[in-house]
């Protein structure tokens, strides 16, 4: 077999689709045979991406005629040679080039021979653009000699310690040396030596001996993430990647440099020496750590999760992950994981069988229903669920338990009816809008990868960013204007921006000149309106947990009247958007339908009466429970004590509920208080679909088996329903999703065939537009940009396709478990047997009545009365509290992963320097922060960017829970800050 196994022949357009069986002709050259064999059996579950044709010519750019290796092709004008070659399936070797970063031309691996007017010359393909008539030779004698030369140079100082290197087996340096390198090195001298791996951050090790100075990591840190904390030091062959003295590479995105390193120089602590690439099983799935919905490849070895790698989804994450998303998978095997069902016997929780636990839960719920009716039962939580789980719980609540008291948000989001009724924008539309206004959390901390997209939009697309926020955020350095309003007064500020009335004096603490500047931005953007795309996008979420949500909802409604506006919800928790879309909110039925608008439709199809009254949200349920009005609460992946803004209310609510069921993956403060605990399958242990902030539905894949005896949530809900006398008739996810697409006006047409087919990587947007989904095909991955991901698509272009295929990838040797195709996984699924065998109860009703019309989705909410529930003027000497989440905090998932548990910042309250001066307290000294609800003692930090009337305290840090201070009934929590030294107080009051 030829050493130079360049798979130029099987270009994407000639490759057979994964689902079709190509005829095996004996005349096909060996290279094509292997490629066909590989595409026939996609290594990547669910996606079918091996069939993706190259992205179609966008049409707006001119094209030029070139030849590549003698083949005439059309390329987009201005494209780099390497991109044009990729598009037609000709692979040019590369190291420093990465499709998501600007070219630097450092490694010189991509040298090709180009015939030009002045004769032939060698050029790097990564930063020379194609031009009309260009003749490109990627494998000529000249090009081959240059490529071999560069590879020999790269190995001069490379230690070749492949047998002990984590990258061995998925290493672009190995692969390309095999395919493009000289057979052996002529270097006989001593190699450069460095101290073997040194930590450059809490999560990343650097082995400088293996480094080939491609600069991918350095460029990512600076260009993509904006954390220029690593750079090259020294020069010549002593060049090394280094951190600055005393400053570790502390970045929320550090794992990405490990992912894109083309050698084993950067390794992630949690993965080091855990597995060899050829032993890994893999599925492609969607990260649910927050609601951005980053595509990722999840990998395991011997049934143990080992790694998560970002997969390049063009409309979403561009291949990047935040470190929380990347490393949080390990939480599913933490000691705090719930392994078996438990039932309370007196003061003790004892292990129980599923049958006993379900019976106990059903008995408790039935007792509550009998005693107080359905409205005395509440269901809190749902963001952890898949769409299918959420739908089943929403249906069980309304039809079996008879309650509309359901809420996937824990008082930490926004009113569902407001969010669901607003016009929506996609992430791409946001990133290409002339103006983006944020009214929500610190996006860098809560929706970290969205921060990367926004930062890119501001720096590269000319997007203007306006922040409406009670305190500076991680995006503030990129904002055209950061309007820091007084907590609780967002609606006043929004009204001033939206109205044309003259502004005099400050508005909600914001100087009038700034407000007028924002108006000018709005006017300018309105003039730049483009058909079919919003000219202003508002990213809407909860700016602070210490101010109430109704002011934000009012502000959002005001901003909805701006010309050409659309909204991108920044509700951050996992699949919260899916849960709301599928009816896990009071007054909302599946498909963003109001309770009354959808009553007839769903009563007809569900075959049951729906609750008469609009139900309570989480705050309402907890308050009612504290007053003794709630007979049973079901916590579905919810920990109100930690996550509800007011821990006082949460605790009293849980104590006040006469019966408490918890369906969860981990033991939490709230779960500990339950009467029955039902263990739920974690993210990596079940299948389903996920809805991200845009309304994009994508696949969640199962890779490992359930921990202990945990079940998927939909099964738990179905079994509970069965024990309460209702057989829902679901025996698989397909049953559920068929019903969703049939009934929900939002999900019509979005069947599994669409979600798991061509669109798997990018998901499908609901509601579907036009004939189907977005028409574009997923962007093909670059095999050397995405090392470590096993996929047919990558192997098709991979330089070692032939060699690797021949040695290690005999189809039969690889047919086990998770790597098998999507169709099989979807069909078999490994479902548990359920007792549901009878037909749906609904059938009778459906037959008896004429079918009602399909309900319309929620529209714009009514405009709230001005200044409803606005806070009164601050009291003398008090500050308004701002509390927001940080990426690393005391949250259950973060604390369940040893590598992440200690990354959170030290608790401290940030105030304006004048506040500390007034107290006579120095920066860093302790203060006592007291509210009507409680008191905390912690260090004070002087920060000139925070207004003098505001105090900022991160949410839920170990040792300092802001929830202990917050009064959820007040529009804005006020606190007093005093020196802790003066009275010797010890804090908690």
């Amino acid at each position: 077999m030829s050493k130079r196994a360049k798979p130029a022949a099987p270009a994407p357009e000639t490759a057979a689709p994964a689902t079709a069986a190509p005829a095996a002709e004996t005349a096909v050259p060996a290279a094509e045979l292997v490629a066909v064999r590989l595409t026939k059996r996609p290594l990547l579950t669910e996606s079918g991406v091996g069939t993706a044709p190259p992205p179609p010519d966008s049409g707006d750019g001119a094209s030029v005629n070139i030849t590549i290796d003698g083949r005439p092709v059309q390329a987009k004008a201005g494209q780099w040679i390497i991109q044009a070659a990729d598009d037609v399936g000709v692979y040019i070797p590369r190291f420093c080039y990465h499709p998501r970063m600007k070219p630097v031309g450092m490694c010189r691996m991509c040298l090709v021979e180009v015939e030009g007017p002045r004769g032939s010359s060698l050029m790097p393909a990564c930063y020379n653009a194609v031009s009309e008539g260009m003749e490109i030779k990627t494998a000529s004698e000249k090009a081959t000699k240059a490529q071999e030369g560069v590879l020999e140079f790269l190995l001069v100082n490379h230690p070749l310690d492949c047998p002990v290197c984590d990258k061995g087996g998925e290493c672009p340096l190995q692969d390309q040396t095999l395919a493009y390198g000289p057979g052996e090195s002529r270097f006989v001298e001593e190699k450069r030596h460095w101290e073997k791996p040194i930590p450059i951050s809490d999560l990343v090790y650097l082995d400088r001996e293996r480094c080939i100075q491609c600069g991918r990591c350095v460029r990512f840190a600076d260009e993509v993430a904006g954390d220029a904390l690593i750079d090259f030091a020294q020069r010549g062959d002593q060049t090394e990647v280094a951190t600055f003295p005393g400053e570790p590479y502390s970045s929320y995105f550090s794992g990405n440099v490990v992912q894109i390193c083309p050698v084993g120089a950067l390794t992630a602590k949690p993965y080091r020496f855990k597995a060899r690439p050829w032993d890994l099983d893999q599925v492609e799935s969607t990260c649910t750590t927050c609601s951005v919905g980053c595509r990722a490849a999840l990998q395991s070895s011997s049934g143990e999760l080992t790694r998560l790698i970002g997969v390049d989804s063009d409309p979403v994450n561009w291949g990047w992950l935040c470190d929380k998303g990347r490393f949080a998978y390990a939480s599913s095997t933490s000691p705090s994981r719930i392994a078996v069902p438990m039932v309370r016997r007196g003061d003790e929780l004892v292990e129980a069988s599923w049958a006993d636990a379900l019976s106990a839960a059903a008995a408790g719920l039935e007792a509550a229903r009998n005693a107080g009716g359905g409205s005395s039962i509440g269901i809190i939580g749902g963001a952890r669920l898949s769409n299918e789980d959420a739908y089943v719980w929403a249906k069980v609540a309304r039809t079996v338990l008879g309650t509309d008291n359901v809420d996937a948000q824990l008082g930490d989001g926004l009113p569902a009816e407001t969010v669901l009724g607003l016009p929506r924008a996609t992430i791409d539309q946001t990133a290409s809008a002339p103006l983006v206004i944020t009214l929500g959390p610190d996006i860098k901390d809560e929706l970290a990868v969205l921060y990367l997209r926004l930062r890119h939009a501001v720096r590269e697309n000319g997007t203007q960013l306006i922040e409406l926020t009670p305190a500076p955020t991680g995006l503030s350095p990129y904002a055209a204007e950061t309007l820091i309003y007084r907590p609780g007064e967002a609606a006043t500020l929004a009204a001033a921006i939206a109205s044309g009335a003259p502004v005099t004096g400050d508005v909600a603490g914001v100087a009038y000149g700034t407000v007028e500047a924002v108006r000018a931005h709005v006017d300018r953007s309105a003039k730049m309106a483009r058909p079919g795309a919003p000219s202003i996008v508002v990213i809407l979420g909860r700016p602070s947990l210490a101010e109430s949500d109704d002011q934000i909802a009012a502000a959002a409604r005001i901003l909805a009247d701006l010309p050409g506006v659309a909204f991108l919800p920044a509700l951050r928790r996992g699949n919260v958007n899916g849960a709301l879309d599928l009816g896990l909110a009071p007054g909302v039925l599946p498909g963003r339908v109001g309770l009354e608008q959808g009553r007839a439709w769903y009563e007809h199809h569900w075959g049951a009466d729906l609750p008469e009254q609009r139900g309570l949200d989480t705050a309402g349920m907890l308050t009612a429970a504290a007053r003794g009005h709630i007979g049973a609460l079901v916590l579905v992946g919810a920990d109100p004590i930690a996550d509800f803004p007011d821990s006082n209310v949460a605790l009293k609510g849980l104590l006040g509920s006469r019966f408490l069921v918890a369906v969860d993956t981990h033991i939490t403060e709230s779960v500990r208080r339950a009467d029955v605990i039902l263990p739920a399958a974690a993210w990596s242990e079940r299948r389903g679909t996920f809805t991200n902030i845009e309304g994009r539905i994508s696949w969640l894949s199962q890779l490992v088996t359930d921990h202990g005896v945990a079940w998927p949530d939909w099964m738990i809900a179905s079994e509970l329903a069965a024990r309460l006398g209702v057989d829902l008739g679901y025996s698989s996810l397909e049953d559920i999703w068929d019903e969703v697409t049939r009934l929900s006006p939002l999900h019509a047409g979005a069947g599994y065939d669409l979600i798991s087919g061509q669109q798997a990587r990018d998901g499908v947007m609901v509601p579907l537009v036009g004939a189907g989904a977005e028409s574009r095909s997923p962007r093909p991955l670059d095999p050397m940009a995405d090392p470590g991901i096993a996929s047919a698509e990558l192997h098709k272009l991979s330089p070692t396709a032939l060699l690797v295929a021949a040695v290690a990838m005999e189809p039969e040797a690889n047919g086990n478990g998770a790597r098998s195709g999507s169709a099989g996984d979807l069909a078999s699924g490994g479902e548990r047997p359920t007792s549901a065998t009878a037909g749906p109860v609904a059938e009778d009703r459906e037959a008896a009545l004429p079918p009602p019309a399909k309900p319309a989705r929620l529209g714009l909410p009514a405009v709230p009365p001005p200044s409803a529930n606005a806070p009164s003027a601050p009291r003398e000497g008090s500050l308004r509290l701002v509390s927001r989440r940080t990426l690393w905090d005391g949250g259950t998932q973060v604390q369940a992963v040893a590598a992440l548990a200690d990354l959170h910042p030290e608790p401290a309250v940030r105030v304006h320097p004048s506040v500390l001066a007034g107290l006579g307290v120095a920066h860093g000294e302790s203060v006592r922060v007291t509210s009507a609800k409680g008191s905390l003692t912690l260090p004070a930090v002087a920060d000139g960017a925070i207004p003098p009337g505001t105090a900022v305290l991160p949410w839920n840090l170990p040792g300092a829970r802001a929830a202990d201070l917050i009064d959820s009934s007040s529009p804005a929590t006020e606190v007093r800050v005093e020196s802790a030294a003066s009275d010797g107080g010890d804090g908690h009051g």
Partner: protein
């Protein structure tokens, strides 16, 4: 017959306090500037074009042409960056200008700035130039006081600020885009080209980068006219040239010569090198800085001029002529040269970063008597991989020309002194007396 050399650049050298404004004005200094300010900027550029002045930094690019590349209607500010990062081994002429006649440079800067519409000029001086920079800064201060620099040049309303910046000791910062990076406060890594500095240069703005000697030549062009200057030189290259003569000659130093002067004349003539030390003969000469290939003893009748040297596949470069006599070990001297480049490689491009270090290690091995005959072919092939064909101008195997500067020197050394290399290999030792300093300095 040896042509007479006009003193253009060196005319004030050796006069009392030649570096002061007072001395410079006594010899007619800054009158060219006044003359230029009476002309249109385009006329000044045209005059420089007609003078056939070519860049003295090494590449010999026509200066007037370079000036005309700067976009006339750029909304961005334009900059002039003066390259005083003179670091090539064997080259030390700009240093003499800075020390002996800094005002001649400053007048050239003022004229160039006026011609280009530049209001800010930076002089980037080599980090090791502590004393020359002091002299230069003194002169800049004097020029401000005298009204040549500042908000209104000679009261004519043209604003010019001139800043002196000292580097931190990196040869690569003499590469024009490396220098621009360094001026911006970054690591001196050369940039991808295009775009070229004339379009996207300092702080993303159009920038002209000129060498010290180049700009110091401008006042004389304005004073005596382009025709006079052009006539001093050859058909394609106007003016005189500063040569830095070093190595095995009786009188090393900086000399202003006619470009019609041959290497042999430079070594032998009483006005210049005054011949070899007693008993020594020329073995080889590097004619244009350390990256130029060596000339053998029988090749010395070539003129020290861009085109003439190009014809014999050599280069005039930055004017550093290094004479090696018959006691010089050619392996050791090449090792010394390559060690410099390997050490000064910025580390960006693989061929230069790894190839340079590898060449150095092979040469060191041969010099220490551990060479193999196959090493000669290996050296040549490594060179070919750094710069395919060992041709000039080099292919785009590297971002800048530092890497491709190595192969010509290596190739010439091996081809011309193959026997000496083989002697090292066969005898397992260097046949020349040891050079303790060099061996101690070896990086490995």
């Amino acid at each position: 017959m040896l042509p007479a050399a006009e003193k253009v650049i060196t005319r004030n050298w050796g006069k009392p306090d030649s570096w002061t404004l007072e001395a410079y004005r006594k010899s007619g200094g800054y009158q060219s500037l006044e003359k230029a300010l009476g002309m249109s900027p385009q006329a000044v550029t045209d005059e420089v074009k007609k003078s056939n002045l070519r860049g003295r930094g090494g590449a010999g690019f026509p200066t007037g042409l370079k000036w005309s590349f700067v976009p006339k209607d750029s909304p961005k500010p334009k900059y002039l960056a003066v390259n005083a990062d003179e670091s090539e081994p064997g080259t030390f002429k700009d240093r003499y200008i800075l020390e002996n006649d800094p005002h001649m440079l400053l007048e050239g800067i003022a004229i160039a700035a006026f011609a280009l519409g530049v209001h800010t000029a930076y002089i980037y001086a080599r980090g090791e130039f502590k004393f020359p920079t002091q002299r230069l800064q003194g002169a800049v201060d004097e020029a401000y006081q005298a009204g040549f620099f500042g908000p209104s040049m000679l009261g004519k309303g043209f604003a010019l600020d001139v800043y002196v910046v000292r580097g931190a000791g990196a040869y690569i910062c003499g590469e024009e885009t490396g220098m621009l990076e360094s001026l911006e406060g970054k690591k001196g890594w050369p940039r991808l080209k295009p775009p070229f500095p004339a379009v996207v240069g300092l702080f993303g703005s159009p920038t002209v980068v000129n060498n010290v000697e180049t700009l110091a030549s401008v006042p004389a062009i304005l004073e005596h006219g382009a025709a006079w200057y052009a006539k001093l030189g050859t058909e394609k290259s106007g003016g005189t040239k500063l040569i830095c003569l070093s190595g095995s000659v009786k009188r090393p130093g900086v000399f202003e010569i006619s470009m019609r002067t041959t290497v042999r004349q430079l070594i032998e003539d009483e006005r210049y090198g005054q011949g070899m030390p007693a008993g020594r003969k020329v073995k080889a000469v590097i004619p244009g800085g350390s990256s130029a290939p060596v000339l053998a003893a029988n090749e010395l009748d070539v003129e020290l001029e861009f085109e003439a040297l190009k014809k014999v596949d050599n280069m005039a470069g930055s004017g550093g002529v290094i004479v090696m006599d018959d006691t010089t070990c050619m392996v050791r001297s090449l090792w010394r040269v390559i060690r410099f480049y390997a050490e000064e490689s910025c580390g960006q491009c693989t061929p230069c970063r790894e190839g340079g270090g590898w060449l150095e290690k092979i040469l060191e091995r041969i010099e220490r008597g551990q060479g193999r005959e196959s090493d000669l072919d290996l050296l040549m092939d490594v060179c070919d991989n750094i710069s395919p064909g060992v041709a000039w101008p080099p292919a785009q195997t590297t971002i800048c020309v530092l890497g491709p500067s190595m192969p010509p020197a290596v190739a010439a050394g091996i081809q011309m002194f193959r026997d000496e290399y083989l002697t090292h290999v066969r005898e397992g030792r260097c046949p020349f007396p040891p050079d303790r300093l060099l061996l101690r300095l070896a990086r490995v």
